[in-house]
Amino acid sequence: MPTNPPRRVIAIKPERPSTLDAPQRAAIEGVCARLQATPGALLPVLHAVQDALGFVPKDAVPLVAHALNLSLAEVHGVLSFYHWFRSREPGRHLMHLCRAEACQSVGAVQLEAYAKRNLGIGFHDTTADGAITLEPVYCLGNCALGPSLMIDDELHGRVTTRRFDELVARAKASP
C-alpha cells in the first residue's frame, strides 16, 4: 500500500487578537443585530458603527462580515472605498474643509494652507491635543457663500482666517 505523502499545510498567519474593548464590541454587535435584515445593509451598518464609535475599527470588519454573511474582502473593500469612513479614531471634533472649485474661487486654497499651518497637521490628521481632525471635502453645497467648512454637523460660510481662528478656539474649548 502506497503511503500518502505528508499533507502540505499552507501556514496562515494567525488572526491577531481583537483590540476592541467590550463596549465597542457590544456597540458593533448591536448595530449588526438591528440592521442586518435591511436590504443592502452594509453602508447603513458602517454609518451606524461610525456614529456610535466615531470610526470603524479594523477589528469591526470580521464582526460585520459575519453578521451580514459577507467576506472580509467585501467589507474591507467598501470601508476603504468611501472617503467618509475612517478606520482611525478621530479627534473630539471633525473639521471638513471644502476644496472644490466654487470655494477655490474665493480663497479656499489659501484657507487650506492657513488651516494646515495653524493646526500643525495635514489632511486626515488630528491635532496634538486631540481636539480636531482635519478632512478634505468636495463640496458642502454652500457654493455662493464660500469658503466653507463644516465642524461636526455645523456648516460655516464666508470663513476668513479670523473666523477660522475663532471656530478653532471654540472647538478646542468644547468637550
Binding site: 443592502g40 453602508l43 472605498f81
Partner: protein, 520 residues
C-alpha cells in the same frame, strides 16, 4: 395686538452665516422689549448674499431685511422693523426684489415661503394637488403627461424623464423601485439641498407620483452624507407623511402603496452616477455598471428602477397639477420648463435663480450676479460642475440650453455656475480637474483610473516647461483616450475643464517659471 410674524431661514446656507444666532437674538430682544413675536423658520428665498435674510409679515406683505446678524437686531427693533420700518438693511417687499420678482418659480414655488415641516403650509400653497390628480389617473396617463411636459433629467444628463418612466412601467416585475439621486456632488450646485431643506414634501410627493405611474411601491432617497441638515429635514417630513397617510400601505385610502426611506452616501462623488449609486445602495463599492441593462429594466437589486435627480422628481407635482402644456410653455428648443440655476463662486449676488431655459451667462453673471465679489473682472466661468468646461468672456452670450452648451463643448449639467475673477490660474484649475478625477475615480476602467494620475503628472511637466510642446500633445492625446475610453462621465468629461482651460487660457500654461513660483 397679535404677535408679529418674523421669518428667519433654517436653510444650511443661512445658518452658515449666522441665521441661528440671528433668530436667537430676535427672540431675546423681543422678550426684553415685551414684543410678542411668532418666529417662523422657513427655507431660503435663494437671495444668498442677503443671508441671514429676515422677513417681517406686514399688511403690505413680507418685508425683507438682510444680511441681519445678531448684532444688528437691537437696531432693527429701534427702527421699528416689526412694522416693516425703514433701516439700512431693509430691502422693501421681498417679492418685489428684482432678483426674485423676475424669476419663474415652478419647482421652487414654495421654497422660502413656507415652514418646510408644516403639512398645513404645504397644502395651503398647492401641495398634494399633483398627487390628487395622479391618484385619479391610470399609470400610462401619468407617464404620458410627464412625457408631454418635455421634462428632462435635471441631474445633468438631461435624459427625457418620460422615457425612463415608460420603460419601468412596461417592464413587468413583482417589485419595482423609485430611487432619488440626492448625491449632489458638483461644486457650484446646491439646488437639491435647498429644495430638500426648504420644501421636502414636494420631493416626497413627486416620488409617490412616480410610484403610482410605474407600479413601484418602494423608494429610496440616496442622500450625500455631507448634507446633515437635508437628512434631518427629509427624515422628519417622511415621518410626517407616514403618520398622515401620504406614505404607507394605503395612500390616502386609495389602496395604493408606497413607502420610502433615506439612505446615506459616504463621500464618493462617483455615486452621483446612477449605476454606481445603485451599487452603493446595494451595499457595495460605488463602481460603475456596464449598460445595458438600463436601470429602468434591471436596476436596484436587479429590478426595474426609476432613478431621477431631486429636481426632476420635485418638478413632477406641478406638472401633474397644472398640466403638461403649462410646464412645456416655458423654455426654448428641446429644453422645456425651468432650470434652477445656481450662481456661485466669486460673485457679488450669489443665489438661486429659477427661470425658463434661454437666459445667457452674461445676463446671469452681470444682471443678476452684479459681477464678482472681489470687484475684479470676471475671467472664467465653469458651468456644470467639476466636469464642466471653463468658458471665457467670448462665450458669455451662450443661452442656457442643453443643445447650445453641447455645441460649445460645454454642458449645463445640474445648473451650477462658478465665477472666477482675473486672479485665477487656469493651469492650476486644469490640474485640479485631473487631481479630482484621480481622487474620485471608482477604479473600474483604466483610462479614468490611471489616466487621471498621468494627467496630473503631464500637466506638472508642462508647467515646469519640460519639453512643453511635447507635453501638451501628450495631454491632448490623453484627454482623447479619457473621452472615448471611459465607462462613465467622470473619466469621459474630465477633459472638458482641462481642454477648455488649455484652449481658452493657453497663456496660463506657458508662464515663465519665476512668475509661476511667485504666484504660488
Amino acid at each position: 395686538m397679535s404677535a408679529v410674524r418674523i421669518y428667519v431661514p433654517c436653510d444650511a446656507a443661512a445658518l452658515s452665516v449666522g441665521a441661528g444666532e440671528t433668530a436667537a437674538a430676535i427672540l431675546a430682544e423681543a422678550a426684553r422689549r415685551h414684543v410678542e413675536v411668532e418666529l417662523k423658520r422657513n427655507g431660503s428665498r435663494g437671495l444668498l448674499w442677503l443671508e441671514p435674510l429676515v422677513e417681517v409679515a406686514t399688511d403690505r406683505g413680507r418685508v425683507a431685511y438682510g444680511p441681519v446678524h445678531a448684532a444688528d437686531v437691537p437696531g432693527l427693533f429701534d427702527a421699528g422693523f416689526t412694522d416693516g420700518g425703514a433701516h439700512a438693511l431693509a430691502h422693501g417687499l421681498t417679492a418685489e426684489i428684482p432678483y426674485l420678482r423676475s424669476q419663474e418659480r415652478l419647482t421652487f414655488a414654495r421654497v422660502g415661503l413656507i415652514d418646510p415641516q408644516s403639512l398645513d403650509d404645504y397644502r395651503e400653497y398647492g401641495g398634494f394637488r399633483g398627487l390628487g390628480a395622479a391618484l385619479s389617473m391610470p399609470p400610462a396617463a401619468i407617464v404620458e403627461c410627464l412625457t408631454e411636459s418635455g421634462l428632462r433629467g435635471r441631474g445633468g444628463a438631461a435624459f427625457p424623464a418620460g422615457i425612463k418612466w415608460k420603460t419601468v412601467l412596461a417592464t413587468p416585475a413583482a417589485q419595482k423601485y423609485i430611487v432619488c439621486n440626492a448625491d449632489e456632488g458638483d461644486s457650484g450646485t446646491y439646488s437639491d439641498r435647498m429644495l430638500m431643506e426648504g420644501d421636502p414634501f414636494v420631493l416626497i410627493e413627486g416620488m409617490i407620483i412616480a410610484g403610482l405611474a410605474t407600479g413601484a411601491t418602494r423608494g429610496y432617497i440616496y442622500l450625500r452624507c455631507e448634507y446633515p441638515h437635508a437628512r434631518r429635514a427629509l427624515q422628519a417630513a417622511i415621518a410626517t407623511c407616514q403618520a398622515s397617510g401620504y406614505l404607507g400601505a394605503d395612500i390616502l385610502g386609495s389602496g395604493r402603496a408606497f413607502d420610502l426611506e433615506v439612505r446615506l452616501g459616504a463621500g464618493a462623488y462617483i455615486c452621483g452616477e446612477e449605476t454606481s449609486l445603485l451599487e452603493s445602495l446595494e451595499g457595495r463599492r460605488g463602481q460603475v455598471r456596464f449598460k445595458p441593462p438600463l436601470p429602468a429594466v434591471a436596476g436596484l437589486f436587479g429590478q426595474p428602477t426609476v432613478i431621477n435627480n431631486v429636481i426632476t422628481l420635485a418638478s413632477v407635482p406641478i406638472i401633474l397639477d397644472r398640466g403638461a402644456a403649462h410646464y412645456r410653455g416655458f423654455g426654448m428648443g428641446r429644453s422645456r420648463g425651468t432650470l434652477p440655476i445656481q450662481l456661485t463662486g466669486n460673485i457679488r449676488q450669489g443665489g438661486l435663480i429659477e427661470k425658463a431655459f434661454g437666459l445667457t451667462l452674461r445676463e446671469l453673471i452681470y444682471d443678476y450676479g452684479g459681477g464678482t465679489l472681489s470687484g475684479r473682472p470676471v475671467r472664467a466661468v465653469q458651468v456644470g460642475g467639476p466636469l464642466g468646461a471653463y468658458l471665457p468672456e467670448s462665450q458669455f452670450d451662450t443661452p442656457l440650453d442643453y443643445e447650445a452648451f453641447a455645441q460649445i463643448k460645454g454642458m449645463l449639467g445640474h445648473g451650477g455656475i462658478v465665477v472666477f475673477d482675473d486672479s485665477v490660474d487656469m493651469a492650476a484649475q486644469a490640474r485640479y480637474a485631473m487631481e479630482f478625477c484621480a481622487i474620485e475615480s471608482c477604479g473600474k476602467c483604466t483610462p479614468c483610473r490611471i489616466g487621471s494620475t498621468r494627467g496630473v503628472e503631464v500637466i506638472d511637466r508642462l508647467l515646469a516647461g519640460e519639453q512643453a510642446a511635447k507635453q501638451e500633445a501628450l495631454l491632448r492625446d490623453l484627454c482623447e483616450t479619457l473621452t472615448h475610453g471611459s465607462l462613465c462621465a467622470l473619466g469621459g468629461l474630465t477633459p472638458y475643464p482641462v481642454l477648455s482651460a488649455l484652449d481658452h487660457f493657453a497663456e496660463d500654461f506657458h508662464k515663465p517659471l519665476p512668475a509661476r513660483a511667485r504666484a504660488e
